[in-house]
């Protein structure tokens, strides 16, 4: 069947046969860089369109349907508009940091793409500390947010940025503990190992109760980490502060906006990799015939299908629930999610030692 | 309590009040100077008129009349209290510490009719812009730019 790993091996051989080794490597860097940026652009456009359509369906209306069939060119038109907008820098803003902040946030998002396995043997770099790398680098985005909030020179941006940071830093704990629960079962931080260990079934089924608890906690923590509703107090329109990206306009705002959707994609990709098997098709234990049929669907379709399903769930949350107040938000994390995830980790460890998982 | 009982009670508290029984509710006319004590007694007394539901002023070209509509949430009876004020120096005691709703209502009457409420905590213009001159609801208010006479 069509598979992306065939594509990479073809390109690799072609380059190595025509160019010296170092130049081939450099050419591969350039190709990967361009592909990553291309993926960003397409993901950004696609996810914004998807959000608007999902919102429309839930609100009994149509959503964008003028530009292009089913409105798929709506986001491109929005991008053109944002590029042409005048990007003001406030007078008492710290110019260097103000201009640097959106780039930090986007670069962090790109860095996290590195270990994610989009298809079989299709990773940019299969790090041996894959999952740890992702959680570590995602914490760097907090710096970008604080930078944006502080350098705007606006008291409300700073307040919004600090609230955002408090939220992200708190929920990273629960997210991290949920990830560790699965790592206990797989025994390795390497993404390819984690996916390979799900060959006879996804961890959410094999790990039954603790894995399901970890999955639920991870989804909640992921929604909070990306500042999505119901945890979007920092960017709420009907409340006081308009968030850390108030003073940004034009392309810089587009970068923040894009990075939010990329972050959603990334946390859903991690969730899909850890709990739902990544690119691994739906295998049931040792039913050879069933597994063989499932294998016919290309692995990239599996991966993107699962991720898009999880993104849909997160979007569903936004249009159903109201917002939590900031103290209720932090309460939820420190008093409820963190103890539950710690207990769940213990439970998972016990299960792994006793061999009670499938 | 019926109108008769109310009439008896009010004459007990305040013998100088003039009571008018035509109309839906009892109309009591009180002097401006005695109004405050009358109001306090009416609130505390057996009549228990604890709900002030309308506070307004009427400009009768020669004088102003303050009109207060009181109601009791326990006995379900209503009375109307009227106080006559001098047009050139309209002053009356505030009742906003007894009925908190009077605070905003008195500000409105102040800006529309020019009635000064003594001891009001915060008497300033409510609805009109801060630099407005004149008392719009008075019958002799002229505004050649904005008012059109039919």
């Amino acid at each position: 069947m069509f598979s992306l790993e065939g594509l990479t091996s073809i390109i690799h051989e072609w380059l190595n046969s025509h160019l010296p080794a170092t130049f081939a490597l450099l050419a591969e860097f350039v190709i990967v860089g361009v592909a990553a940026i291309g993926l960003f652009a397409i993901l950004g456009l696609g996810l914004v369109w998807m959000e608007r359509k999902v919102a429309a369906v839930m609100q009994i209306r149509l959503g964008p349907n003028r530009l292009g069939p089913k409105g798929i060119f709506q986001t491109s038109a929005d991008t053109v508009k944002l590029i042409m907008k005048e990007a003001l820098t406030p007078a008492n803003a710290d110019k260097f940091l103000f201009n640097l902040a959106p780039f930090i946030v986007i670069i962090v998002a790109m860095l996290i793409l590195v270990p994610i396995a989009f298809a079989k043997n299709f990773q940019i770099w299969d790090l041996n500390i894959g999952v740890l790398y992702v959680t570590a680098v995602s914490s760097l985005s907090v710096i970008g947010i604080l930078m944006a909030g502080w350098s705007s020179g606006n008291k409300y941006s700073l307040l919004g940025a600090m609230r955002s940071c408090a939220q992200i830093v708190s929920y990273e704990l629960s997210a991290g503990l949920s990830i560790i629960s699965i790592i206990v079962l797989t025994g390795s931080l390497k993404i390819s190992d984690i996916v390979a260990s799900q060959e006879n079934g996804w961890w959410i089924f094999k790990g039954h109760i603790p894995a399901i608890i970890a999955f639920v906690i991870f989804i909640i923590a992921a929604t909070a980490e990306t500042n999505r509703a119901p945890f979007d107090l920092a960017e709420a329109e009907s409340e006081l502060t308009a968030g850390f990206h108030t003073e940004y306009g034009g392309m810089k705002f587009a970068l923040f906006f894009l990075s939010e959707y990329i972050n959603i994609f990334i946390v859903c990709a991690i969730c899909a990799t850890l709990f739902l098997g990544g690119w691994m098709p739906f295998h049931m234990g040792s039913w050879e015939a069933f597994n063989h049929i499932m294998d016919y669907i290309p692995s990239s379709i599996w991966f993107f299908g699962k991720t898009i399903f999880l993104i849909f769930v997160i979007m569903w949350f936004r249009w159903t629930f109201p917002r939590l107040r900031v103290d209720q938000l932090l309460n939820l994390e420190w008093k409820y999610l963190l103890p539950i995830s710690m207990f769940n980790l213990l439970l998972m460890t016990l299960m792994a030692i006793m061999g009670w998982h499938f | 309590m019926t109108k008769e009982e109310l009439k008896i009670k009010i004459t007990e508290i305040h013998p100088e009040a003039i009571i008018d029984e035509s109309g839906e509710w009892l109309n009591v006319s009180v002097e401006a100077a005695a109004f405050r004590s009358f109001a306090e007694q009416v609130r505390m007394d057996v009549m228990d008129l604890d709900y002030l539901f309308c506070l307004t002023c009427v400009d009768w070209k020669t004088h102003l009349t303050m009109v207060y509509h009181f109601s009791s949430t326990t006995h379900r009876h209503n009375i109307v209290v009227k106080v006559k004020l001098d047009r050139n120096e309209p002053e009356i005691e505030t009742i906003c510490d007894i009925w908190r709703t009077a605070e905003l209502h008195e500000r409105e009457v102040f800006e529309m009719f020019g009635v000064i409420f003594l001891n009001h905590p915060d008497l300033r213009l409510l609805i009109l812009p801060d630099d407005f001159v004149g008392y719009p609801m008075r019958k002799d208010f002229e505004d050649p730019i904005n008012m059109i006479k039919l």
Partner: protein, 371 residues
């Protein structure tokens, strides 16, 4: 829209909320004094939509001034017109035919439902849920269509006149209202599932904005705000007008006094309104829709007061007449005015998010306050 004015020496922050407000409350300008996130004082600045209706009515005839009043509390336009028609009828001692009375009450209750729907959707949007807005407007659209067929307008209906109603009902009226009742019972259940039972909504509304019964009486609050603190204040029960004394419905009283109690009162009031309409829609008697009145109406010399229960509370119309064809002095006692004065008392010591929730449950319509 939201900007900081100054920081006082004590460290208090003074900020403006409004007049252009993201939530659909109208042009209300509030100046909040904050200490960190805790509110110390709320001061309303009114007048952005003051149209001097009271002064204008002094030069309009008794038939004309009704049309101005539907712009006061535009969400209960029918009920405002009803109040004005009633007071003129009281002054002239006109007997309104039964058919007109039934029609008036049905229209009133439909308006009440429509108003509460809009309140519900705006309240949910203030708290961050965007979907209820679209769901509620779906229902409102049905009511607006019914209104449009009979009265000719969707928002400022101007259907009630002194003596009765203006025109005959549209032939489809009964059918459409009955279909609406059936649909509405299902969707009310949906609303309760989506919003009332949701733990996030409950935790944002319970315990917020508490006001006690004594304070409610002192501040002159009416309507659902008063009934949520235990005060019996439904004018339809205290001083019934038209056919309200003949229909059976409950006056919803809650004793919580907080935002959630006010929310519950309004949701339950919607069910009661449906109950009233159900009792009346099949029994509209035949007859005239308007009593015979003179062309030029002149109220006799004297004073008149009429109270009705709008969706927001008690609306009072006070007319002082000198026997002329125009009123000498009109005063509209609007429910929002008194409810707004209680806002300061309600939110002191709470946070900004709570203030938004409390203001949502007060259901203020600013044209009603400013007149």
């Amino acid at each position: 829209m939201l900007e900081e004015i100054a920081i006082t020496e004590e460290g208090d922050l003074i900020i403006n909320v409004g007049p252009q407000h993201p939530a659909t409350h109208g042009v209300l300008h509030l100046v909040l004094t904050l200490n960190g996130e805790i509110i110390k004082k709320v001061e309303p600045h009114l007048g952005y939509i003051h149209r001097s209706i009271e002064k204008m009515c002094e030069s309009l005839s008794y038939r004309q001034f009704i049309y101005v009043t539907s712009r006061m509390d535009y969400l209960s336009a029918h009920i405002n017109n009803h109040a004005c028609a009633l007071i003129v009828e009281k002054g002239l001692n006109v007997e309104v035919p039964q058919r007109a009375q039934y029609i008036r009450v049905i229209m009133d209750e439909l308006t009440r439902i429509a108003s509460h729907e809009l309140w519900w959707s705006a309240m949910a949007m203030d708290l961050g849920a965007f979907t209820p807005y679209f769901l509620a407007f779906r229902e409102r659209e049905k009511i607006n269509e019914i209104m449009e067929e009979t009265c000719g307008a969707r928002l400022t209906m101007n259907y009630m006149v002194p003596g009765g109603v203006m025109t005959e009902l549209h032939p489809d009226f009964q059918k459409k209202v009955k279909a609406f009742i059936v649909d509405f019972k299902k969707t009310l259940h949906e609303y309760n599932e989506l919003v009332t039972g949701n733990i996030i909504f409950q935790s944002r509304m319970k315990g917020i904005g508490y006001i006690s019964k004594e304070d409610v009486i002192s501040y002159g609050c009416t309507g659902p705000v008063a009934r949520a603190s235990g005060l019996r204040s439904d004018i339809r029960k205290i001083a019934p007008y038209d056919v309200y004394d003949k229909v059976e419905f409950d006056e919803i009283i809650e004793t919580g006094g907080d935002c959630f109690a006010r929310y519950q009162v309004r949701i339950k009031e919607m069910s009661q309104s449906i109950r009233i309409i159900e009792q009346l829609i099949d029994n509209i008697p035949e007859g005239d829709i308007q009593a015979k009145t003179k062309a030029v109406l002149k109220l006799p010399k004297g004073e008149f007061y009429q109270r009705v229960e709008t969706a927001r509370g008690e609306l009072g119309v006070y007319i002082v007449s000198e026997g002329a064809a125009q009123p000498y002095r009109i005063k509209f006692r609007s429910p929002g005015f008194s409810n707004l004065s209680a806002l300061d008392h309600m939110v002191r010591g709470y946070k900004i998010g709570d203030f938004i929730a409390a203001m949502g449950t007060l259901d203020l319509v600013i044209p009603d306050i400013d007149r």
